[in-house]
Symmetry: C2
Subunit: 293 residues, 2 copies
């Protein structure tokens, strides 16, 4: 091969490499860059103390696609990987505690944790939590998604986004309609099934007993639609309120169904400022089912 | 009327009064005396830090009867008062938090608390909690009652009272049989309905995620029968274990049904050393129900 040809070949090769790498670089949006855009767009100051941090994977990896979800369960991670989405944006923890601390489980050589971590590593997944700031957004991103899923925009109190006045309905029928609309298997209710209500509060997730009882203390709240609560706190309080003859009931959706649509809303929102990679909402499966006799 | 007759009448009246008051005094067992007998009989040293304290009423009131119960809900207090039992021995809180602190609710002029407190006062009820030491008893009083209610004595591991080996059964059928046996409306399950299991652990109440995962980490535990757990802790962990293909399932009874029979056991035990007043187990109603479509 003559020297000229070698030079020409080298130039062509160099050109070809540059041609490949230039568009590739444009697509190389990293997970960290995605989060920076979220921080710019969320509309509230970023907190110094927050659980909204990377939980697993390399933040500087290029993103192939984004999956938003309510809870990054093993099942969700499998479905995200199969769909080619390597950045998972989850509302709830990945590693079974609010801070996603893994030290205790690692010390115990916990096999459930180890399998999940191995799957994340093997598939190059990156997990980032979006909890505090998605709630802090005005209006609350979870609340917005849930109200939309329930079709309650028209009933909303203009001065308090958590309160609604709906056409009169029994607690049983309201619970049944929510169960059907949101596709919940194991929705549970506390209180009198025949109580007729119009005044509703919506507290998804786990806001805790003080927030829940403050809703139930209001004269303009008859039924509290909630995620989960401890049985010796909010649940006993709701049962007592009903036994005392007060016009109060709890409709307990379960944590995941009570916030799920808020992460669907998140996918819709992300698409308004992330266009380089596909964004998909992956619903988290309701963990519970009832035994068949 | 002659002086002699007046004197005789006075003597008869005095005698009659003494005749009435003497046996009455014998029956004047106070709530405090009942608890002292429990402390003497429970078989474990009394702790300085404990929630096993009086929660309402006057400990020095005479006891008309004793009601043991899982949770001193308003409904239970009503039934105890109607049955003439003024000392309520409850396993779980009366005032909606583990320490039964009422300051926050009082500051909020909480109507649910006020109605409950007024009922207790009006009916002269005394409420005492029996939690830590009934669990600490050897064997654990709650566990003993639940194992008896489940009919699992013959399956129990002689070295670990929380473990059982039962004839092979699917998770669905095991859950259905427990639901029927304990009369639970809203029992829920996590995991594969068709998984065949023999190795069972029983963790009633709310022992918390560490205790629950330590059970699930064991090779000799396939199904964990539990009370309640947080959905981002034990429930997500159980769902992941199942999704990862591990032979694990959760059978979630609800807090009250998971410990209820332990307070029936308590009534039986109390009768062995309290004979002056009637002792009755008053079951706490399961707070939850499912909506009918």
């Amino acid at each position: 091969m003559a020297a000229r040809n070698r030079n020409r070949d080298f130039t062509l090769l160099l050109f070809a490499l540059l041609s490949i790498s230039a568009p590739a670089q444009q697509n190389h949006l990293t997970a960290r860059q995605v989060i920076e855009r979220i921080q710019k767009n969320v509309g509230v100051p970023w907190r110094s103390q927050t659980v909204d941090t990377f939980k697993a994977g390399d933040p500087d990896s290029p993103v192939t696609g984004i999956a938003t979800t309510m809870m990054a369960t093993f099942d969700v991670l499998q479905r995200a990987a199969a769909a080619g989405k390597n950045l998972i944006i989850t509302h709830e923890p990945t590693f079974y505690n609010h801070q996603d601390k893994t030290a205790d489980l690692e010390q115990e050589n916990d096999a459930v944790l180890a399998t999940k971590q191995a799957f994340i590593k093997q598939h190059g997944l990156i997990v980032w939590r979006f909890h505090d700031h998605w709630h802090a957004r005005k209006p609350d991103g979870i609340q917005t998604g849930m109200i939309h899923a329930l079709g309650w925009e028209k009933f909303q109190n203009p001065n308090n986004s958590r309160l609604f006045v709906i056409p009169e309905i029994t607690v049983n029928d309201l619970a049944a309609s929510i169960k059907q609309r949101l596709g919940i298997r194991t929705l549970r209710v506390v209180g009198d099934p025949n109580l007729k209500v119009t005044k509703i509060a919506l507290n998804p997730g786990y806001p805790g007993f003080p927030a829940e009882r403050h809703m139930l203390q209001r004269d303009d709240v008859e039924a509290l639609v909630m995620g989960e609560g401890l049985e010796w706190e909010t649940i006993e309080y709701g049962a007592d309120a009903s036994s005392e003859g007060k016009r109060k009931a709890l409709i307990v959706l379960g944590h995941i169904p009570s916030e799920q649509a808020g992460m669907q809303e998140c996918a819709t929102w992300l698409k308004t400022f992330i266009t380089e990679v596909p964004v998909e909402f992956i619903p988290t499966s309701e963990p519970f089912w009832f035994p068949k006799q």
